[in-house]
């Protein structure tokens, strides 16, 4: 109707530009809103600074060749005393299907109860279905207190 009244090229192209501007503004606005909703729904990783340091109990109570299973939230961890002075911390979850590993002192390795995957004492795969090695974490000994730093190896 308005085209019939003001049919000049000038005003119809102005109309097109305005329409384009409104549409692109609304679509950008919609995209931004959808982005906010999406990133809200994406569950954040919940490592606050205090949660990243895990207390792993007494150092002297851990004999050489022994491993201790530690529960941190829903993340199980092993601390393993390899020698007199050396302690390492490893994830206790098999990288194949997320089963919790058992420590075998005789074989000096972590054995998966689900599909018999085997990891050696440093967390490398020695046999079975797992492909990735176990995640390793930094350990510190302060006095007699073991602490695991989850921030990375």
């Amino acid at each position: 109707m308005e085209d019939a009244l003001t049919g000049s090229d000038d005003s119809s192209s102005r109309r097109r530009v305005l329409q384009w501007l409104v549409r692109s503004f609304l679509s950008l606005w919609g995209l931004a809103s959808a982005g906010i909703v999406f990133s809200f729904l994406k569950s954040p990783s919940v490592d606050s600074a205090a949660d990243r340091i895990v207390s792993a109990g007494s150092f002297s109570a851990l004999g050489i060749g022994e491993a201790r299973l530690i529960q941190h939230g829903n993340r199980p961890l092993y601390v393993l005393r390899v020698s007199e002075a050396q302690v390492i911390a490893l994830s206790a979850v098999c990288t194949h299907r997320q089963c919790v590993l058992d420590w075998s002192r005789d074989r000096k390795s972590f054995v998966c109860p689900c599909h018999a995957g085997v990891f050696d004492a440093s967390g490398q795969v020695t046999s079975g279905l797992p492909r990735r090695r176990l995640e390793q974490y930094r350990v510190s000994v302060r006095g007699d207190e073991l602490s695991i730093y989850l921030g990375g190896a």
Partner: protein, 383 residues
């Protein structure tokens, strides 16, 4: 055939597939019945012609600017539904976890603060809009026969929105929200009939785990469900009887079509979200400490729209017995809801309704003065 024509044909084929199996036009008609736009839809036609026909209709005079409070309330309600559903992804309604889950939303979740704060502010603005709408209905006489149901459903909508807000306040489960609810419910529990009934609904007159989970289900399901039904009823009456004689469904206003009206709605949505984000950034609701059952904080205050009754009951009429004060409160609520049956005079102009308008103005002024008195002089009231 050109590629874009092919795409259009494919889209039409998909639509046809649904169209032969379900009446899509009815869904579209449902949207219009919620008050977003009031146009009548021919549900016998397929969706595309029905929409094209509806959008080409001239806007009914009762939907013309500045009659925007109704659709505005609907938009706020929809915003509250969306943000509320988002919050429910992280919120946990148990006394030991609720506070921590709110902290998690505010601190750790991406844009958690934004969703939380806009949800808080959206509820306040929804109540404010519904109050303004009722004030307007009163002075324009939008409750006279045959619009009684329009007023009653509007008043119930306001009361339900207030209760959604009140139940929502408790869900944050912090020191201030807990004690505000405890103190707010003291008066209500003294009421005859309503008191025991409400006690039954919220799981006893002691606040605890039962109260939290009952308030939660009231807040997220039952009261929003009631809001949905009342919105439908409210706008169904508008579609049938219009708002006033001049703004009746048959009286078509200007030459504007619903196509333009849709653009106005889009602008309104952008504006609303802008206002909410501004409020969330400039005036965020504070994060209060955890519940301490042994001390009542001074910040425990009634909601802003309850400041006037609070001042009246606690400060000015403090000496009267609770039962009397509670009954007074109950009678004024009933007076609001059943007003169309109290004032049944046929007069429509301001001069014909002089007494009623004077009464309404006095009541509104009293409410405003008591609120200002409470907020400014007594420091009562929380957003």
């Amino acid at each position: 055939m050109k590629p874009d024509q092919e795409a259009a044909a494919r889209k039409r084929a998909l639509l046809d597939w649904f169209e032969t199996r379900v009446n899509l036009t009815e869904f579209f008609a449902l949207l219009t019945s919620l008050g977003l736009f009031y146009v009548e839809v021919d549900t016998k036609k397929p969706l595309r012609p029905a929409i094209r026909e509806a959008l080409a209709k001239p806007v009914a005079s009762y939907a013309e600017w500045p009659r925007v409070l109704g659709p505005l309330a609907v938009l706020f309600f929809l915003f509250q539904v969306v943000s509320g559903v988002l919050l429910a992804f992280y919120y946990r309604a148990s006394p030991s976890e609720a506070y921590e889950s709110i902290r998690f939303i505010l601190r750790d979740v991406n844009f958690g603060w934004l969703i939380h704060q806009t949800h808080r502010w959206g509820g306040q603005l929804l109540v404010a809009i519904l109050i303004l709408r009722m004030v307007r209905f009163f002075f324009e006489g939008v409750y006279k026969k045959p619009r009684e149901l329009l007023w009653i459903s509007g008043a119930l909508l306001l009361l339900v929105a207030m209760h959604v807000d009140l139940t929502g306040r408790l869900l944050t489960w912090n020191q201030v929200s807990y004690w505000s609810t405890v103190r707010g419910s003291e008066l209500i529990f003294t009421l005859p009939l309503i008191g025991p009934l409400l006690g039954f609904l919220v799981g006893g007159q002691e606040m605890g785990a039962a109260t939290l989970s009952r308030f939660y289900i009231l807040h997220i399901l039952i009261l929003p469900g009631a809001t949905f039904v009342l919105l439908y009823l409210n706008f169904a009456t508008v579609r049938r009887v219009g708002l006033t004689e001049a703004a009746s469904p048959t009286n078509v206003g200007g030459r504007r079509q619903y196509r333009d009206y849709l653009y106005n709605l889009a602008i309104l949505i952008v504006l609303i979200v802008g206002v909410l984000i501004t409020l969330a950034v400039m005036q965020p609701v504070p994060f209060y400490p955890e519940i301490d059952l042994l001390s009542t904080p001074v910040e425990a205050q009634p909601a802003w729209y309850l400041v006037a009754p609070h001042v009246l009951v606690d400060v000015l009429l403090g000496g009267l017995p609770d039962l009397l004060k509670g009954t007074l409160f109950l009678v004024s609520v009933l007076l609001l809801v059943l007003w169309p049956f109290v004032d049944r005079s046929p007069g429509k102009t301001i001069r014909e309704r002089a007494t009623v308008v004077a009464f309404g103005t006095a009541a509104l002024l009293l409410w405003l003065l008591l609120t200002i008195y409470g907020v400014a002089l007594q420091g009562i009231g929380a957003p």
